[in-house]
Amino acid sequence: MQGVYTIFRKEVGDHFTSYRFIILFALILMVSLILVYMSGMSLKESLEGGVKPKFVFLLLFTSSGSLFSMAQFVAFFGPLIGLLLGFDAINRERTSGTLSKIVSQPIYRDSIINGKFLAGVFTISIMLISIVLLVSGLGLLLIGVVPGIEEILRIIIYLIISIFYISFWLGVAILFSVLFRSVATSALAALALWIFFSFFVSLGANVLANAVAPIEKDRATVEMIEKHVKIQRAISLFSPMVLYRDATTTIIDPTRRTTKSLLFITPMEKLSLERFKSPLSLLQSLLVVIPQVTILIAITLICFGITYTVFMLQEIRSM
């Protein structure tokens, strides 16, 4: 444990003093503040004079002012935090010759990978928590509504899922840093995977669904559309981003009863529907997203497991 702790301590120190981290943190904080400011302002406007609905505070994270919501932003941009914190974890040490030094100290080899992964997770947690706190502070000032206990719990669960989601990407990045000798290659591979899962999976899901179950324009039946959507959904579930988005939007939006998109409802109808239906309790929301959360946690652990195994089996010679 001493080894893990020593490496953890050093890595955390390195993260927090690196320009990479500071720039990333500043960027994300800035965008988040702008997003929440915009959604806060539009919320304030629409709340003017009317009766305040339940869970106003959570709307800060889910409603989009004019761009996109805070939750969408984290889903899209979050992976980059994980990737940037991990893509050179092992191979940088290898090129600088410090890895062979560390492995010749009296620690178990897995302490290195454990320490680095934990340090990354810790950094991610600090980053997310502080951003959400700052953003909530701004939201409080803007709309002047104090969040209830359930809202706070929902935000905490949202944070936990987010940390797992970003840790998954951290795991991917560390895996690449173990597999590839060159820092540039591992960075590129990690970015490519991120782009693939963020854009191409949903794009590919569309293409495939069109090919397997095309919707004929003139004679579209409900069954046809249903089949099409089902296929599209099944494929897009391969993307961790979709899983995460499904899970978190349900958690921070109590009015959502399903993770599926409400396909046959027009936006206006949807809005009016949401006005009148009563929100789900926290427990119910959690039940809805259990599959997604389980998969997210599972792929994070699998990814770390693969990294661990590959690293343990690697020949030191090549270090």
């Binding site: 600088s96 010759g97 560390i102 620690i107 030191i316």
Partner: protein, 249 residues
């Protein structure tokens, strides 16, 4: 009879089809300086890695300080200092911080290591540079810092892989003298590999010559010279001896 710190028996390491270490049996006694000679790629580094438990032998056994490197690598690494061929430091940290990190990995409490780091930096002649970032160090300084790092755990045995590689003559001599003095003063056993013959001749009590994974000769230099060249002390150079073995090997 002195105690054997290292003893190997039929050590063999095969990478794919390439036999890196071939049926190697040798021993290093307590307190001596053992010079490991051989051309590049003759299996010196591989042998060292096996001894430290950093890679596993295909066949054969080894005992280092009474421990088995396959099963008790961590115990070995607790008392054996190893300076790799290309020693690495965190360039954006100072010499002191680098040593501190290594000390922590060795479970040395901070209060203890502070004093020790000062001492060691003094010994290797870097006390004036202890708060400079290692990135600004010259090759010779890095190598000396490497020695300090190896000594931080109070090792029984020190393994140095090509410690003078890339150093100029003056730097090499300084380093070699440093190693020699440390070994004699503190009674540390030293195993070091090199292909600089005059260095080896200068400090090694015994040598082992490795060619293509095999140890073709081992023993005190004088004995080997007598056997192979038929000459007495002072009338040979290690170079001649080495060439002789190399031609036969």
């Amino acid at each position: 009879m002195k105690e054997e710190i290292i003893k190997t028996d039929g050590l063999t390491k095969i990478y794919g089809r390439h036999v890196a270490v071939d049926n190697l049996s040798f021993e290093v006694n307590e307190g001596e300086i053992f010079g490991f000679l051989g051309p590049n790629g003759s299996g010196k580094t591989t042998t060292i890695l096996i001894l430290l438990g950093l890679t596993y032998p295909t066949k054969g056994d080894a005992i280092v300080c009474g421990f088995n490197p396959i099963r008790e690598a961590v115990k070995i690494k607790r008392i054996v200092g190893y300076l790799p061929e290309h020693v690495g430091f965190y360039d954006d940290m100072t010499a002191r911080e680098n040593l501190k990190f290594t000390a922590r990995l060795n479970r040395i409490p901070d209060e203890e290591s502070d004093k020790k780091i000062e001492e060691l930096l003094e010994i290797v002649g870097l006390s004036g540079f202890s708060d400079k970032k290692v990135g600004t160090y010259s090759r010779g300084m890095r190598q000396r810092l490497g020695i300090a790092e190896v000594l931080i755990k109070d090792p029984k045995l020190v393994v140095l892989d090509e410690p003078t590689l890339g150093l100029d003559l003056e730097g090499s001599i300084q380093l070699i003298e440093l190693i020699k003095n440390l070994s004699k003063e503190k009674g540390i056993t030293v195993l070091f590999s090199s292909h600089h013959l005059n260095e080896v001749q200068r400090i090694a009590d015994r040598i082992g010559i490795m060619i293509q994974g095999k140890m073709v000769a081992k023993g005190p230099i004088e004995t080997l010279a007598k056997e192979k060249l038929g000459v007495d002390k002072g009338e040979y150079t290690l170079e001649e001896l080495y060439l002789k073995y190399f031609q036969e090997g």
